[in-house]
């Protein structure tokens, strides 16, 4: 009986949390279309979330592409099908690894920082200060952060994929001696614009929404203590990572990308 009751408590808590997140998202959506448009903080956030993540994204992209090239070559060489290496590297990067790894990296690099920043603002009562001056903190502080995350994610994902293709080319062609023409050729004939590239961008956009919402929400609702800020950061990384992977499965299952 107790077990069933605690299951009920957990379920109700989960649904309540989901409802609060939905209300928070609706509030944020209203803020996006309500003037004044806060362009300056938005650009600052694009710089912090996007430009500063650029190096980690490109380095990881090249490394992942290089590993894919190596693994793919070693598997394909047993079938004498090394001319399909471009297709292996390209399809894995475009459909799965590009958007997913970019989102996971951005969660760790930018999402946690966003949650910690907002959480600290809550703990030091800066958001309450804004409210006292009748400035909506969601409009002023939080919306630009979430919006920047949504805009930045597809761009970072595309850059990750291009770096990965470069890494795969580097290992496949220069290290393993695959013919450069057949690498590019199998890459170009395997990857399709409407099937693969659009699906990849859709995934990145959905992940951007997920990370942006979860990071800002966890920060905004954090306890106003130092332990609360650290809990908000941790739960952002955990919840965002898990939901990225779960959503990835469902997007792939529903739209076949």
């Amino acid at each position: 009986m107790n077990l069933v009751r605690s299951l009920g408590t957990v379920t109700i808590g989960f649904v309540e949390e989901l409802g609060r997140l939905a209300a928070f998202s609706a509030h944020m959506a209203r803020c996006v279309i309500t003037p004044p448009i806060r362009l300056r903080p938005f650009i600052e956030e694009v710089f912090k979330l996007g430009v500063l993540s650029l190096i980690i994204i490109c380095v990881c992209g090249v490394a992942v592409g290089a590993v894919l090239g190596l693994q793919g070559y070693n598997t394909l060489v047993t079938f004498g099908a090394t001319q399909s290496l471009g297709a292996v590297v390209g399809l894995s990067l475009v459909r799965e690894l590009g958007p997913v790894l970019t989102a996971l990296l951005a969660t760790g690099r930018a999402g946690s920082a966003t949650a910690a920043e907002i959480g600290t603002m809550v703990a030091t009562e800066q958001l309450d200060g804004l409210r006292m001056m009748s400035v909506d903190p969601v409009h002023f502080v939080i919306t630009p952060k979430a919006l920047a995350m949504i805009v930045v994610m597809p761009l970072l994902s595309a850059l990750f994929i291009v770096s990965g293709l470069f890494g795969g080319y580097l290992v496949g062609v220069h290290l393993m001696g695959v013919d450069p023409g057949s690498y590019m050729n199998s890459l170009q004939s395997a990857v399709d614009f409407s099937d693969d590239i659009l699906g990849s961008l859709l995934k990145a956009l959905v992940f951007g929404v997920l990370v942006g919402l979860i990071a800002t929400y966890r920060g905004y609702k954090s306890e106003p203590t130092s332990a609360g800020v650290s809990a908000a950061t941790t739960s952002t990384v955990v919840i965002a990572s898990v939901s990225i992977l779960i959503f990835d499965y469902f997007i792939t299952a529903l739209w076949g990308v």
Binding site: V46, G50, L54, G90, V152, A158, V162, L165, S189, S200
Partner: protein, 153 residues
């Protein structure tokens, strides 16, 4: 330039780099093309296309001259393959199209052999001389069947 101006410039460059990456993926890797009109569009009916896919190559003497734009089933249950060829390519009307395989397990592609007629194919014309894909299983089946017939005699 003040500090926020520099920052704006860097953000602008970042967004441009991201958009350039998306454009590269779409246009070069993904094969999205905006120059649909202008190319030579032909079609050919095959009895069997094997594993031919859209965006497969069309070659003449091994040189890529275009790609497969569409594969549909026509009313006689033959495969109607649309070919999107480079603009400016001049092909006589008795050009023939064959489906080949690159290597034993490689991709299918179409090879064109230009004929000797004076009149040229126009966009929307049909290539009448076609050679279907060779299906390995069917050939082996035929071989076994023929061998069996020989033994009975």
């Amino acid at each position: 330039m003040n500090r926020s101006g520099t920052r704006d410039l860097i953000v602008g460059l970042f967004v441009l780099a991201g958009l350039a990456a998306i454009a590269y993926l779409s246009l070069s890797v993904g094969g999205l093309s905006f120059r649909q009109p202008g190319g030579l569009k032909l079609y050919a009916d095959f009895d069997e296309i094997g594993g031919l896919k859209t965006r497969a190559q069309v070659v003449i003497s091994g040189v890529k001259v275009g790609e497969i734009s569409s594969i549909t089933l026509d009313k006689d249950y033959r495969a109607r393959v649309g070919l999107n060829l480079d603009a400016g390519l001049k092909l006589p009307v008795d050009t023939s199209a064959s489906i080949f395989t690159a290597g034993l397990l490689g991709d299918r592609y179409i090879s064109l052999q230009p004929g000797g007629e004076e009149t040229l194919l126009k966009s929307g014309d049909q290539i009448t001389f076609v050679e279907s894909a060779v299906i390995l299983e069917r050939m082996i089946g035929k071989l076994i069947h023929n061998a069996g017939v020989d033994e009975e005699k």
